[in-house]
């Protein structure tokens, strides 16, 4: 296009490309912090689309939702408003791994999120296909749409999901496209490559959707939601919710035989699929190949919403040809007459190598350019949203000239997720898991607000309503703990009888309520029945109990964190030339040059960087600091 025809269609502080789960969080965060923000989407009808499973949360994923909510994000609030079933998983295990998981009404989820975005101050939402990233001298300047107009901004967040050169594969049939019948963005990744961004190609997949009217639920096990009504958001007060059950059924030998007979037609086997798929959601054909001895595999039938007959067949992601899909589905109890409404498919797409990013999610080489979500090589709505909020916050911080927000591994699963991505990279779509977190006892879903709401406040995303609610809760917890420490009971006959009658081992000396609560046979309610204790709401009580019961373990982890923290606080200069640092080993030096870690702590987690390299770095940093101090002294 020649210069006079360039049409500047708009100027913003921050532009977010893509309105999936990462994009909406990024745009909402940026706008709510006060930046003039543009959110672009390929289709106004598909904001916050859930192209795969109809659920939110689960172990570690649910933690992410709670965390981004605590920071002032939207996913938790939106899920509470629109989900049709909630379950708390892992309740038989420790408190750190309790995990809330919800079934979403997909359309309601989308439309509610769309409504929120459209009504957020400082935020414009536009249907645009972005072809080009505009960069001048290493600084992002805006984006250009397929129709040629330019939108200018000093910060751009890409949240392009699985749309970059998306290719759909169903059996022998392939076509370019995004998920769920959408367009693909065919040019944006070329523009990225031109700007020096390194790309990778990943693959993921989704199972078929079947017609609820053709299922025989009598042959399946019902999976109802919990009776107790729970919420993701610290701001939600829903106490009742009408729920819809899921159903469980199993595959059998006949199903497996059909797959085995048709294995040469699997796109994985015949070489049609080249992208790298995730190990934790293998296609069904992969499961049959890798676990040939397994007699059956479980399948969950999950409704996609209240106003649709589409049912998601969880456990059966596949890209087999249509005839094979139908044939094997119909061997499954309850699915004998199943009609497929949408076929399962695999999708291949371009994503970026996340080691090109700083922990702020800004590209190291392109100032003002951020990336979040599946485009960073992750998978899952929650992982995407968690990165989205951080990218949005940091884009806004950059515009405002304020300190970026980088969450530590000891602070949040979001910190673990991003640190893993930018430090180690990934060679398959990355999924968060509780086993990735080394300080799991500290990163509980119940205390996400304590960990993160003050940080959300600092960046301006936590508004007064949330802040007031938070501080009230904190005060109540502090007061309750103080009361329990201060007040005690004596081993009088009356008290001994009272305890014995309640099935509690009597005390031998004066014992504080705090110490009593350490015992496995005592909880707050039990104690409150016997003695006069302050009345606490559910959340406060839970915090009090966990704080007391797990004090020893929590303290141990806090000590570990403290040791690590010293290295996290040592920030490495962005322009550090590792060739200037003497005595580093070659391998360590190369890795440090490639990753350019933000802190010595991050450096220590790069594979190939040895403890001796870290010691050398520390000494070198100290040397530089002292030299600088000496120069300043000399100047004075």
């Amino acid at each position: 296009m020649d210069a006079k025809n360039i049409f500047i269609a708009g100027e913003y502080d921050v532009i977010v490309v893509g309105a999936g789960h990462a994009g909406v969080e990024a745009a909402l965060a940026s706008a709510r912090i006060g930046c003039n923000t543009l959110l672009t989407t390929l289709s106004m009808d598909n904001i916050a689309l859930m192209p795969c499973n109809p659920s939110v949360g689960g172990p570690a994923k649910g933690h992410l939702v709670r965390e981004l909510d605590a920071l002032g994000g939207e996913m938790g609030v939106n899920a509470d408003k629109t989900c049709i079933q909630f379950r708390m998983l892992n309740t038989g295990k420790g408190p750190a791994v309790h995990a809330l998981r919800a079934q979403a009404d997909k359309k309601l989820y989308q439309f509610t999120m769309k409504e929120t975005c459209e009504n957020t101050e400082n935020l414009d939402v536009k249907q645009l296909l972005i072809d080009k990233l505009l960069v001048e001298d290493g600084q992002v300047t805006g984006v250009q749409s397929e129709t040629g107009e330019i939108y200018k901004a000093n910060a751009v967040v890409m949240a392009t999901g699985t749309y970059l050169k998306g290719r759909i594969i169903i059996g022998e049939h392939t076509y370019t496209g995004g998920p769920a019948g959408q367009r693909a963005a065919m040019k944006f990744s070329d523009s990225l490559a031109e700007a020096g961004v390194k790309l990778m190609r990943f693959k993921t997949g989704t199972p078929a959707r079947v017609d609820a009217r053709t299922l025989d639920y009598d042959k399946m096990e019902i999976q109802p939601g919990d009776e107790e009504c729970r919420n993701f958001s610290f701001m939600s007060d829903e106490v009742t919710r009408e729920q819809i059950p899921c159903y469980l059924t199993y595959t059998n030998e006949e199903t497996h035989q059909i797959l085995r007979d048709n294995m040469e037609r699997a796109p994985m086997a015949n070489g049609i699929i080249e992208g790298i798929g995730p190990r934790y959601c293998p296609s069904f054909e992969t499961k049959i190949l890798r676990f040939p001895d397994k007699e059956r595999h479980q399948l969950f039938l999950e409704p996609e919403g209240r106003h649709t007959n589409e049912v998601y067949v969880q456990g059966m992601s596949t890209s087999m040809p249509m005839d094979v899909q139908l044939e094997f589905l119909r061997t499954i109890p309850g699915l004998e007459h199943a009609k497929v409404m949408r076929a399962g498919y695999a999708i291949e797409y371009d994503c970026i190598d996340p080691t090109q990013l700083k922990p702020t999610l800004e590209f190291k080489n392109i100032h003002g350019f951020f990336s979040a979500g599946q485009a960073n090589g992750t998978s899952g709505y929650e992982e995407a949203a968690a990165q989205g909020i951080i990218a949005g916050i940091n884009a806004a911080m950059l515009i405002k000239g304020e300190e970026p927000l980088v969450l530590k591994r000891s602070e949040a699963y979001i910190g673990v997720l991003i640190d893993d991505l930018v430090t180690k990279g990934t060679n398959e779509p990355y999924r968060i898991m509780t086993s990735r977190a080394e300080y799991r006892l500290l990163l509980r879903q119940d205390n996400a607000d304590q960990r993160l709401t003050p940080l959300g406040r600092r960046v301006g995303l936590v508004k007064d309503d949330r802040w007031n609610r938070f501080t009230e809760k904190q005060t109540a917890i502090t007061e309750a703990l103080a009361y329990l420490r201060k007040n005690s009971i004596n081993p009088t006959k009356e008290i001994t009888d009272k305890l014995t009658a309640a099935g509690i081992e009597p005390v031998r000396n004066a014992t504080s309520f705090y110490d009593l609560l350490r015992r496995p046979d005592v909880d707050y309610d039990k104690l409150a029945e016997l003695f006069e204790l302050p009345e606490l709401n559910k959340e406060v009580k839970q915090q009090v109990e966990i704080t007391i019961t797990y004090e020893g373990y929590i303290k141990k982890q806090l000590e570990q964190v403290e040791r690590m923290e010293k290295l996290e606080e040592k920030i490495l200069p962005e322009n550090l030339d590792y060739d200037d640092v003497p005595s580093l080993r070659d391998e360590g030096r190369e890795k440090l040059k490639a990753i350019r870690p933000r802190s010595v702590g991050q450096a220590s987690r790069i594979s190939g960087v040895s403890p001796a390299d870290i010691s050398v770095l520390l000494v070198w940093l100290e040397q530089q600091a002292r030299m600088k101090a000496n120069e300043e002294k000399a100047d004075v």
């Binding site: 295990k93 199972p207 934790y280 890798r290 898991m433 799991r440 403890p611 001796a612 010691s615 070198w620």
Partner: protein
């Protein structure tokens, strides 16, 4: 301050009469106080900074490990500007190593290469011009210790550790899969089975810990002193020990002042017998300095063979030698002669507080029992079938002890009925610690294991 407390032997090994252990960090005084009893009867913690305090290093059972002089240097007036305690040991190599192991038991960790110097620099003790030298020291020392560590790892040893790690990893993966994928088909974790596995691994690890030192002995030889008053039969005993392998005579400078060492292979255990020249030379003439000589030799020895004459009543000199055996690995030998026995094995055993073996340096009777006794000392009472699996340095022993502690914690957690995630935390620590021995600690392994073992997915 750099946080945790570190310790290491600060003097060159095998040289000089005094060995120094340096402990630095905020727990330095606390660590030293647990293992050092000042002669004054006061606790070490009661002393002011910059004092030299005389006393004894004692082990967990209160037995004397060595006499020592302790230098107390409180922060910031020390080399590292942290609390530093230096334990100057006089007793030679074995007590020095024992004392080092005690610092680990009481909360210090082995210092990395160049770490004292690094701390000194970071805490502002060394000036700017020394930065380059400090970085070079770190790299050089680490390279050297890595090379040494690699040399120490026998194939069988590291295979063994790797196998246990794999077993623990299997347990962790199961626990983690159950936690991360509660709705997938992961079999329920039966905590009894986890306990069983942990107990099994602990048994192996504890056996291996008992071999600490064995590996080194088999490689380097066991420093052995033959002591006893003049004309008690030391020379004959030496010849008896040497009879099979007619001596490889080596002159190792600096180990003893003027000594010659000879190797004797006794039941497969290489004994490095100290000052054989001295034994031969002085046996014929009257030793004027018998006790003094014995004292010196004992200070260098890991094993003492103390010889007494059964045909003569124990005299003052014998008593003194007996007193030198206190706290040493010693085998007491009663040499029978043709003359009438005056001292019985029972008498001697009561005096020495040690079992006594009767031998005859004339007809070599009793040599078999002696061989067995030496083997028992080295192998900790058990002859391991697999002679490659020995802990060969204190670092390995320390890591094994730490791993064992984590496994013990896992059992406590299981007994207390705490959640699966708590069990997993302890097992993970054990797994990581064992990985430090073999040099593998990659967190991603857990996730690989989960996906290879369990069929998980939407």
């Amino acid at each position: 301050m750099q946080g945790d407390t570190i310790s290491a032997i600060a003097t060159a090994q095998g040289e000089g009469g005094i060995g120094i252990i340096r402990v630095s960090g905020d727990k330095a005084v606390e660590v030293a106080a647990k293992m050092f009893r000042p002669a004054s009867g006061k606790a070490l913690t009661e002393y002011e900074s910059h004092r030299a305090i005389y006393g004894r290093i004692v082990d967990a059972e209160g037995r004397t490990v060595d006499e020592a002089m302790v230098l107390l240097m409180k922060a910031p007036h020390s080399y590292t500007k942290e609390d530093v305690v230096e334990l100057q040991c006089h007793g030679g190599v074995m007590p020095l190593r024992k004392a080092l192991a005690l610092t680990y038991d009481y909360g210090a960790r082995p210092a990395e290469g160049g770490e004292f110097t690094k701390r000194a620099f970071l805490n502002g003790r060394l000036d700017l011009s020394q930065a380059q030298a400090v970085m070079d020291i770190i790299t050089a020392k680490t390279d050297r210790s890595l090379k040494m560590a690699a040399g120490h790892l026998t194939g069988q040893f590291s295979e063994q550790i790797k196998k246990w790690r794999q077993d623990i990893l299997g347990q962790i993966a199961h626990l983690e899969a159950a936690i991360d994928f509660p709705e997938d088909e992961v079999d329920d974790v039966v905590t009894e089975n986890v306990s069983e596995k942990v107990v099994e691994i602990r048994n192996y690890i504890q056996k291996l810990i008992k071999t600490a030192g064995t590996g080194r002995i088999l490689r380097e030889g066991l420093m052995t002193a033959i002591v006893g008053k003049p004309n008690v039969g030391k020379s004959s005993l030496l010849n008896a020990l040497l009879q099979e392998e007619r001596a490889i005579v080596t002159d190792i400078p600096g180990t003893t002042r003027d000594s010659i060492e000879e190797y004797a292979n006794v039941g497969g255990v290489p004994l490095r017998i100290i000052d054989t020249a001295g034994i031969r030379a002085t046996e014929d003439v009257v030793e004027k300095i018998g006790v003094e000589k014995s004292r010196q030799m004992i200070s260098q020895a890991a094993l003492v063979l103390a010889l007494f004459d059964g045909s003569r009543a124990l005299d003052h000199e014998d008593e003194e030698i007996l007193s030198l055996l206190n706290g040493q690995e010693a085998i007491v030998l009663l040499n029978k002669s043709d003359l009438k026995a005056v001292v019985t094995a029972a008498d001697l055993s009561a005096k020495a507080q040690l079992p006594v073996i009767e031998i005859s340096t004339k007809d070599y009777s009793g040599m078999e029992q002696l061989t067995e006794a030496i083997k028992a000392k080295v192998y900790g009472g058990e002859v391991m079938a697999d002679e490659g699996s020995f802990v060969s340095d204190e670092r390995q022993a320390n890591l094994l002890r730490t791993a064992d502690r984590h496994l013990a914690a896992a059992l406590t957690t299981i007994e207390a009925g705490l959640g699966l995630d708590f069990i997993s935390i302890d097992l993970r620590s054990a797994w990581e610690t064992l990985g430090e021995i073999t040099g593998d600690t990659v967190g991603e392994d857990i996730i690989d294991e989960i996906f290879s073992k369990f069929c998980i997915g939407k």
